[in-house]
Symmetry: C2
Subunit: 266 residues, 2 copies
């Protein structure tokens, strides 16, 4: 499943729409994302510090009015998350939680109470990225245990292994640790597990003119082969979107079909 990461509250057009409570720029962006092939939309509201309840209520209602696609409510602010859940007319996906105590304490119970899917990040208790696959897998085990203690059913959790930017000092090694994590996680947990990865993060900090989409596409295919179920990505990156279609066709149980690509030239 392709989740669009393009709707971000920090975009000037969206910031202005939020300030003026004008749903049209939000609806327009969502229509463009849907036309580009988005199958779900991440509503990235950031920390939502000013008026968390009102802002998230407006954002969720505007988005629901614009599309039938599933929506991810993406905020680190538990008050905004709760408001989004109450405002939603259809079950949203919560994005997300980690071992950080505030998220376990205030966001996980929302998913448990409302019976919602929720993204769980493989971060440590301080919200930091573990250095290797071992650390990520330990965080995964702890995440399922902590969520269960809050009454959340394990099949509700969509694991995000946390793709690091290649620009980090050890980014090159970390991207391989993420692949290893994706491969080993189901066996470690003893169950099939849905996973989601934020692809845009991979090339953040890349130099201007860098072939971001070439590298995004290759890494997306590697993650798909390692078992990834959903990718959060920039759906306006047409090369990466075509790669995503190729990945889906190559991994699908159905016979391979070139028709999926439409009339894209070779």
């Amino acid at each position: 499943m392709i989740v669009a990461d393009n709707l971000q509250i920090l975009l000037p057009s969206i910031q202005e729409a939020m300030a003026r409570r004008d749903p049209e720029p939000i609806a327009r962006l969502i229509r463009q994302m849907e036309a580009a092939g988005a199958e779900a939309v991440d509503l990235n509201a950031g920390p939502c510090q000013r008026n968390p309840e009102q802002e998230m209520t407006f954002l969720v209602r505007s988005a629901e009015a614009a599309t039938r696609l599933p929506l991810f409510i993406d905020t680190a602010n538990p008050r905004a998350m709760a408001a989004g859940v109450r405002a939603a007319g259809r079950p949203p996906i919560l994005n997300g939680f980690s071992l950080e105590p505030r998220k376990l304490g205030e966001i996980v119970p929302l998913a448990a109470d409302y019976g919602l899917d929720i993204v769980g990040y493989l971060l440590d208790g301080e919200g930091l990225v573990p250095p290797d696959a071992q650390g990520r897998l330990s965080a995964g085990l702890a995440l399922f245990d902590a969520a269960a203690a809050k009454g959340l059913s394990p099949e509700r959790i969509i694991v995000d292994p946390v793709v690091p930017p290649l620009s980090w000092q050890d980014g090159g090694r970390q991207v391989r640790e993420v692949l290893q994590t994706l491969r080993l996680l189901p066996d470690l947990l003893g169950r099939p597990v849905r996973t989601v990865a934020g692809l845009s993060n991979l090339t953040s900090g890349a130099p201007s003119g860098a072939p971001r989409q070439v590298v995004e596409s290759a890494y997306l295919a590697m993650m798909t082969a390692a078992g990834l179920s959903m990718a959060l990505l920039n759906v306006f990156h047409t090369d990466t979107m075509n790669a995503a279609r190729a990945c889906r066709e190559l991994i699908s149980e159905k016979p391979f079909s070139w028709a999926e690509f439409g009339s894209t030239p070779a």
Copy 2:
């Protein structure tokens, strides 16, 4: 390692060069492949039925005069293969053998006697593609045993898991079986194993206008993540070549570098 598959004796320009014993068209094509990023060159001589010894001797000598890159001698004809080995001034790589008795009997001993690397195809004793990973892995075990019986050291073998065309009725399933084969082979053999895959085969029979390079690129990344060490491909497919560079950077132990891509636009 990127092995160019572009030099094929059936190309009209090469066919004519062979007939006229004119090394220049061969040298020109090899220079173009090298400029495109080839790191080795496959000399695809086909069955070489007319004058196997003379043709292969001319082909190998012409290629060696044109480049310092490693050469794969690619023929199903044991007499042509033997002539190529004798004509070569530098150790070539033999491409290749399988469980077919004639190849085990006449091509493997050449690799053993001259101490050469050789490609071993995961095919059955009739030269047919096994239907699944299990069949390919069984062929792999039998291949190493049969080669050892002919005095060939196992580290000489570069395994080709045989990428099927997606246009085959069960091509979509077979490409996943190849990924599984790549993943499981080292554990099954109990040793690290070099592997090579022919990528162009994947999209043979694709409809005109199909986005071959998008699918080639995604599958190359999947195979790389599954452990593939070398790919045989059309080095004039610039998108696939950029994907190959991305794969190498993503899988390399060295820190990730955008410099590898040169000035390719994003």
